[in-house]
Symmetry: C2
DNA sequence: CAAGATTAAACTGTCGACAATCGACGCTTA
DNA sequence: TAAGCGTCGATTGTCGACAGTTTAATCTTG
């Protein structure tokens, strides 16, 4: 189970903050599906693969533990978090709450520059809707929502969004495809941006609610179709 | 700088999960003001004091880093997070967003048992309002709000509340006293509970908004009075 | 006397090692 | 044959050590 593609290991990047590097590598391995939910994270294995000792690996694992991607079982090791259907609901519910707030704040802070940034991202979204590349669509979708949180101007809000997003990407990666109709999704993005530009909180909340709610229903449906979709790694 | 009162160290508690123990001790040291904002957390010092090695201390510090209580400066060590006035605003803003949502969810899930639990906590709040014990008032206040998040039934929501609360307690501990008029605050708690029992989302949001907003203004005022209240530990 | 250079102490980052523990496998026995 | 038991390998938890860096203190010099 290779976590990194370059055969040279991570020596090229390891100028400073080794723990941060490992944390990023582990995160990537999880959201890309190389490490499946429920899988055991063997410290020595990761360490050997990266050509380092176990200490930095453990510290990185602690970071991911607090982030919610890993679960620590004392004397048993770290495991990739298993997400049940209830977790999906929890995440989307919280995401709506957070992003509604972010969008209202973003509307207050909106400048011509940030507005154009959002518009450009919507253009990208429309382009990718034509392509048959679900992973790319999810990625660009994520970027749009993250932009709103950035414009909102709250570090904690942004971090919270990133945490929720990383959990979601974990399951979306497993589902593979996400959108039935990418073009329709792209249109609801436009509706969201219109609302933000208009600036009316009630409309913003209604649009975000509908937009994310649609994704929620979509994911919930797919998760229910597959018996135990988030439970990889049998043992 | 003793972190623990019992002279025996932590051996009495150290059956399992040493890292978790250390994390709790460090958290307590921070929110109790033993470790001031900006202070350096010397790994060897903590380790020696607890009679353990540096490895578990570092892992615990990573947990607090992700939680936001500590900041890691590569090759320089861990420092207690410094909260500026802008951080206070950020925290309260997010707190209102989160707790409004929690209260609406709690109203949906409310049972006679959980309702009574909240009522009892309000009674406790009213009792402590008579006492001249600000720390206790803050503590019981915190418990009431946490109950709402518990009743809401979302683990992530609760964790988020705990994170925000720990950051707030850090600065409130420094401010020392919090409320101008404890009785008036106790009354707004009643208003919040009434709204939850009534179940109308709009009213709930309005009451929570006002209630937490009042605390926000109070804290912001006190923070502004003191030039640099959250910046202890000069160097 | 102040500012910069130099030396010494303290601290972090990482590693390898060792004991304790867990899980799996195979063996015995009814 | 199936259940219970003991053994063995694999893995975690913790420690002490060492190299490299940062910080503090001392000394030099204009």
């Amino acid at each position: 189970m290779r976590l990194i593609t370059p055969p040279v290991g991570l020596t090229a990047l390891a100028d400073t903050d080794l723990v941060g590097q490992v944390a990023r590598i582990l995160t990537q391995a999880i959201i890309s599906g190389q490490l499946l939910p429920g899988a055991k994270v063997v410290e020595a294995g990761i360490a050997r693969e990266l050509g380092i000792s176990r200490a930095p690996v453990r510290e990185a694992a602690r970071l991911l533990e607090r982030q919610g991607l890993l679960v620590a079982n004392p004397r048993r090791g770290f495991f990739v978090r298993r997400l049940e259907a209830a977790d999906i609901d929890e995440i989307y519910d919280l995401r709506i709450c957070v992003e509604c707030h972010a969008a209202v704040l973003a509307a207050q802070n909106l400048t011509p520059q940030t507005r154009d940034m959002l518009r450009r991202q919507i253009a990208v979204l429309q382009e990718t809707a034509d392509l048959d590349d679900p992973a790319r669509q999810v990625e660009e979708d994520y970027k749009f929502h993250r932009m709103i949180c950035e414009i909102a101007g709250s570090k904690r809000l942004l971090r919270l969004f990133d945490d929720l997003a990383s959990e979601l990407r974990m399951v979306i990666g497993l589902i593979g495809r996400l959108y039935d109709d990418p073009h329709r999704i792209a249109e609801t993005h436009i509706a969201v941006l219109d609302a933000i530009e208009q600036g009316d909180p009630d409309i913003i909340v209604a649009r975000i609610d509908y937009h994310i709610g649609a994704a929620w229903r979509e994911v919930a449906k797919l998760v229910r179709d597959i018996p135990s979709p988030t439970n990889g790694a049998s043992h």
